[in-house]
């Protein structure tokens, strides 16, 4: 019961965007002997998931989600040194970036945070990323998933160029492609040959897991490969 209360307090401090309180509650939970992975999954990530839900319901917006992620990271920096390496969650390898010509990266950063919180290993190429750089990184890290983002209608066409280049380099069959950003729609995603579309950061993670066949049970066990 005490454990539950502590975990709930961690989740609440993430949800209320309070970095200091999140770090303190996380420290308390460690001192109480709660397993670090439980603190992450049932405290920090649970709080971030609740924030994601409020974001989907238009209760939270980008500033709120950013501050929740800051709070979550404040807690993670306390708990991470206590995790045995093999205990780390690992659901798969992701390459993410904003396509060439576009520098709006807030949405991409939120997706990155949510993917990392869920247990993916994320390689962030940043913004204004040429198609070639995406493809090279996918090959280098043997990525399971490639996430492409853009905010502008003028650069949506770049997404197709990346997918075409994956085909040309014979990598398309080895990696799933998830696209997102304000002007993107499910039909656009399918028209350029993407495997999935993430309407927002929270849904992007759900779609990513579905596309990679990751079940909830597997995720909570910290499975993968």
């Amino acid at each position: 019961m005490e454990f539950e209360g502590l975990l709930k307090a961690i989740a609440n401090s993430v949800l209320s965007m309070d970095e200091e309180a999140t770090a303190e509650r996380t420290q308390e939970a460690l001192a109480a002997g709660i397993d670090p992975l439980v603190i992450i999954n049932e405290g920090l990530v649970a709080g971030m998931n609740q924030a994601g839900k409020l974001f989907e319901e238009n209760e939270y917006f980008v500033p709120e989600l950013l501050l929740c992620s800051d709070a979550m990271y404040a807690g993670l920096s306390v708990v991470t040194p206590h995790i045995e390496r093999e205990e780390n969650l690992y659901l798969g390898s992701v390459v993410i970036g904003v396509v060439e010509g576009d520098t709006h990266d807030i949405g991409k950063n939120l997706v990155k945070v949510m993917l990392e919180a869920s247990g993916f290993s994320v390689h962030d190429l940043g913004r204004n990323v040429p198609a070639k750089a995406f493809v090279e990184k996918v090959r280098e890290v043997n990525a399971d998933l490639l996430c492409l983002s853009t905010l502008m209608t003028t650069t949506m066409g770049e997404m197709k160029k990346v997918i075409d280049l994956l085909e040309k380099e014979n990598l398309r069959g080895r990696v799933k492609v998830l696209v997102g950003g304000a002007p993107i729609s499910p039909s656009f995603a399918s028209s350029i040959g993407a495997d999935g579309y993430g309407e927002n950061a929270a849904r992007a993670v759900r779609v990513a897991k579905e596309m990679l066949g990751i079940t909830q049970a597997k995720a909570s066990q910290g499975g993968g490969r």
């Binding site: 204004n128 003028t154 066409g157």
Partner: protein
């Protein structure tokens, strides 16, 4: 009747079939293989290219300087990178802290050679296009510009962490807007296109809009209108929950993105504001068939009903938008047979 006349009539309260395809100088230059930097470096040389493309379509309003809204920040010392494709972006924030605000010398804006050349280019474009299209000069709204000054993500955090700094940024961003924008009006710009993408409901809450966006937008719209120049306001994404506040800001034209229900938007905005929108610029304009463009444009006109209405895409169009779709859109908007 030509495009500019249609817009003038619309602004005077007439219900005419007006239509703009939301094409910009960025669109024009890209179509011809030029990046936006070329216009900044050689406005005189590139203006004929922009004018030719603008004259190639029958759009009632042509939007100018949409790719160069960061020029006032460049003048103040901001370092911007110009990617081959897309709009310029800040290499580093212009403002790191409060002390940096004191260092900004706004007097530089009026005397800057590049700004003066762009202003002359806007006058020249108006002269070339004459009655064919009205030229709307794009100036970035104070809120979005303030976000550019410190970096958007940082700005989003500051909304919670340092409200005093946010207000200081917004005050100076408003001064920058006026120092850069009003001389365009004084040089004869016939319309000012105020864009405020960061004020979108996709990014910030209504509560933040009311506190940080509304007062400054209201002020700059009033200043421009006081000089007798109409304002077209565009905010990307979903703005449905803040249209009542936009009604109080009183732009002459409110351009809404494709996520907004036109009928409801019209009801909230009332008769004093001309509604503009909102065919999906990518899904329909760029990737849709000619028939789809026609169907969606007609749908918008139907939703707008009997109110004053300017048919436009929901946001600026991509340079890759097929010319056939653009022409179909404009024909539908102007009530011409398309088949």
């Amino acid at each position: 009747m030509e495009g500019r006349q249609r817009v003038l009539k619309l602004l005077k309260g007439a219900r005419v079939r007006a239509c703009s395809v939301f094409a910009t100088e960025f669109w024009a230059l890209n179509r011809r293989g030029y990046g936006i930097k070329s216009l900044l470096e050689d406005p005189e040389g590139l203006l004929p290219v922009v004018a030719e493309e603008a004259q190639n379509i029958d759009s009632d309003i042509f939007f100018f300087l949409a790719g160069l809204t960061s020029v006032p920040l460049m003048v103040l010392g901001g370092r911007f990178e110009f990617p081959e494709k897309g709009a310029p972006f800040a290499e580093a924030p212009l403002v790191e802290d409060r002390d940096d605000l004191k260092e900004l010398d706004l007097k530089k804006i009026a005397s800057d050679a590049r700004v003066n050349q762009l202003r002359q280019a806007s006058v020249e474009l108006k002269r070339i296009l004459r009655d064919r299209a009205m030229v709307a000069v794009n100036i970035r709204a104070p809120f979005t510009q303030a976000a550019q000054m410190v970096g958007s993500e940082n700005f989003m955090r500051l909304l919670y962490r340092d409200e005093r700094f946010v207000f200081e940024l917004l005050e100076i961003s408003t001064e920058i807007f006026l120092a850069y924008g009003l001389p365009f009006v004084e040089s004869g710009a016939e319309m000012i296109y105020v864009s405020d993408p960061v004020a979108s409901g996709d990014l910030i809450s209504r509560k933040h809009f009311e506190r940080y966006v509304y007062p400054y937008l209201k002020k700059i719209v009033a200043e421009i209108k006081r000089l007798g120049t109409p304002v077209l306001l565009h905010i990307c994404g979903d703005t449905a929950d803040r249209l009542d506040l936009i009604r109080e800001i009183e732009p002459d034209i409110m351009s809404v993105d494709h996520k907004v229900d036109l009928e409801k938007a019209g009801e909230i905005l009332g008769q004093r504001i001309c509604l503009a929108g909102n065919v999906d610029p990518s899904q329909v304009m760029e990737y849709g068939s000619r028939e789809e463009v026609e169907r969606k444009a007609l749908e918008c006109m139907e939703k707008a009903g009997n109110r004053r209405f300017l048919l436009m895409p929901g946001c600026e169009i991509s340079p890759d938008t097929p010319l056939e779709n653009i022409k179909t859109f404009l024909d539908v908007g102007h009530g011409l047979a398309t088949k």
